[in-house]
Amino acid sequence: MTSVRLRGLLPMLPNRRTRTLPSPAASGEVVAEAAGIRIERGGRAVLDGVGIEVRAGEVLALVGPNGAGKSTLLAALAADLAPSEGEVRIAGRPADGWPAGELALRRSVLPQDAALSFPFAVADVVRMGRAPWAGTEREDEDEAAVAEAMAATEVGAFAERPFSALSGGERARVALARVLAQRTGLLLLDEPTAALDLRHQELVLRVCRERAAAGDAVVVVLHDLGLAAAHADRVGVLHDGRVAVEGPPAEVLEEELLSRVYRQPVEVFPHPRTGVPLVVPRRTEAGRARARREAEIGTIPLP
């Protein structure tokens, strides 16, 4: 009785001991799904009738042109945005039915741009990823999870530097390390490779693969179709707020569809050694000549 009353008086002492810890999902089990969701922003439907399933043990890549609704779909799966129609379910429950504290044990989110109001040290930022587990029995993994996440993203070298002193790519990796340290069964990554060099793009996608192999579900928004083809189990192509097509990369990434969706002629051909589909813009001699002409009269500034 006394303790109940005390807890009521001290709202900041959450009774975390009694939270339900997530149990690991079986491989292939649906851990998050959107069914017929519609999301409007500024009166315009950004997503309309979108359905997608996220399964444990899989890397799902969301691709599509700018403004297709990739980040919005990711935000919906993260329970950041509530759809006006349809439903989002996370770990078998409606997304809005989860308290924030329990949801944080089940899904982690990497935002597109990593911001920080105060100059925390890198190690402290990564450690923030462990906050949801404070007071649970899995709190004991904190140090191991932080060290592992920092090693996986190669940010250990600047662990003690303030976040604000890092370059854009370094910040992106620190943000990813924080998300990895959270050790949730569902990872939602919004353009984790956008600011990264070649080596670290590969590294990040390899980490995604490893997490999927360990039984987690990974959703990753990508712009690089080559990365999606090489590393994703399934690819969802978004176009005008709908899922144009969804399936294994080899089936989904085909010339006609991509050319239409991106309004840019592309060629798709298998890599000579691995057979992984390569997606390359179709660059004809005529097209290049036109670009040159336009550059000369200054309509398209060349770098």
Partner: protein
């Protein structure tokens, strides 16, 4: 206040008998190549370096406490009627029944009816302002937020000045405090609503909002002065300049509950304030109920600011200066910053009040004037520094 007393997460009380809960997490991935092994090694060396950096916190806390105690004793002894340090200690010991001896009647009266209430009030007000500043900066995610700068002190002062000018006394001793609190709360909410867009507060918007709020509050105070009689005008002017000269035990008792409640509650939000530095959405992704956190903290800030303003008038820059100095000394972690700022604020205000009383003796400088005199150049320097570092305003 009821919002503060609600249990935080009703939905989280389900027991977890499921043995699967104890399952180990995903095993660490094999190091992909040599480079990540190297990175791993340096990561662990980084983890070893962390405690060394944190060791600054206990040292800082201890030295701040020591300085505060020393200043309090000095402040109790120094003045028009000098009381030697030994006598101060003896009298305090005597009163709490630990030996010592009583002083002569004048000394005893000066010490216990004039000096000590003032010292206690300086500590309470300083702690409230310092702590409110640290919380405010955390809530707004902006190092330039401060109750004085963005107009909350002025807003609370409108309530207090209004209560004085209109001769309100519906709550006895508490009237001024309650009016200051209500007006302060209204101002916080106003500033909050006006200066936020898309979950962030831009520096420019925040400062401009502060200018508008300060101007409006100034106009209201002017209006109250216009309608007040001479005695009230003196009282109000005193208020605007900020001073602890009217400290009495009843005043201490009037602020004590507000200040203590605010100060006691604030540190429990420290960890979540750290997460809030990542932004609103990432904080929510880490399990923080951001809206509830903001509302609760705004109430706490209003409580602390109102408590301070109600007894001491407008004292600016303490809440700006102290958290910044501490952040430079020990990093931005709120677990030290929030209680540390309370302690640092108490030190600054006790020292400030001692200086205000003695610098131009026998005359007494208004405390608010003194802190503004010293705080404004600091604020200016801070603006320059922030701008240089960011290369412009966010």
């Amino acid at each position: 206040m009821t919002a503060l007393q609600k249990p935080p997460r009703e939905g989280e009380t389900a027991p977890s008998p499921d043995p699967a809960d104890t399952t180990a997490p995903t095993p660490p991935a094999d190091p992909a190549d040599d480079a990540s092994v190297v990175a791993s090694a340096s990561a662990s060396s980084g983890a070893e370096a962390a405690p060394r950096r944190r060791a600054a916190a206990p040292v800082l806390t201890a030295s701040l406490l020591g300085v505060l105690l020393l200043l309090a004793l000095l402040s109790a002894g120094i003045g028009a009627y000098e009381i030697p340090l030994g006598d101060v200690l003896a009298s305090v010991q005597h009163r709490i029944g630990l030996g010592g001896h009583a002083l002569d009647r004048t000394a005893e009266s000066v010490l216990w009816n004039i000096r000590l209430p003032r010292v206690v009030l300086a500590v309470l007000v300083g702690a409230s302002l310092g702590c409110a500043g640290a919380l405010m900066q955390g809530v707004f995610g902006n190092p330039l937020a401060e109750p004085g700068v963005i107009g909350i002190s002025a807003g609370a002062a409108v309530g207090a000045v209004g209560a004085i000018a209109l001769g309100l006394s519906f709550l006895g001793n508490w009237t001024v405090t309650v009016c200051a609190f209500v007006a302060g709360l209204a101002t916080v909410l106003l500033v909050y609503a006006m200066s936020r867009s898309g979950g962030r507060t831009e520096v420019v918007t925040l400062i401009l909002t502060g200018i508008a709020v300060n101007a409006f509050a100034g106009a209201l105070i002017g209006l109250f002065i216009f309608f007040a009689d001479n005695a009230q005008v003196t009282q109000i002017t005193f208020w605007q300049l900020g001073s602890l000269a009217q400290a009495t035990w009843p005043k201490v008792l009037a602020v004590l509950p507000c200040a203590l409640l605010g100060l006691a509650v604030a540190p429990f939000y420290a960890r979540r304030l750290d997460l809030l530095a990542l932004g609103e959405r990432p904080a929510r992704h880490l399990g923080v109920d951001v809206e509830r956190l903001r509302v609760a903290l705004i109430l706490v800030v209003a409580l602390l600011t109102a408590a301070a303003v109600a007894v001491a008038g407008i004292i600016t820059f303490v809440g700006l200066l102290v958290p910044h100095l501490l952040r430079m000394a020990n990093g931005p972690g709120h677990r030290f910053l929030v209680p540390g700022s309370a302690l640092g604020g108490a030190v600054v205000l006790t020292a400030g009040d001692l200086a205000a009383r003695t610098a131009a003796a026998p005359a007494e400088l208004p405390l608010g004037v003194l802190t503004a005199l010293l705080g404004s150049p600091f604020f200016f320097w801070l603006l320059r520094r922030t701008r240089r570092r960011q290369g412009g305003w966010a």
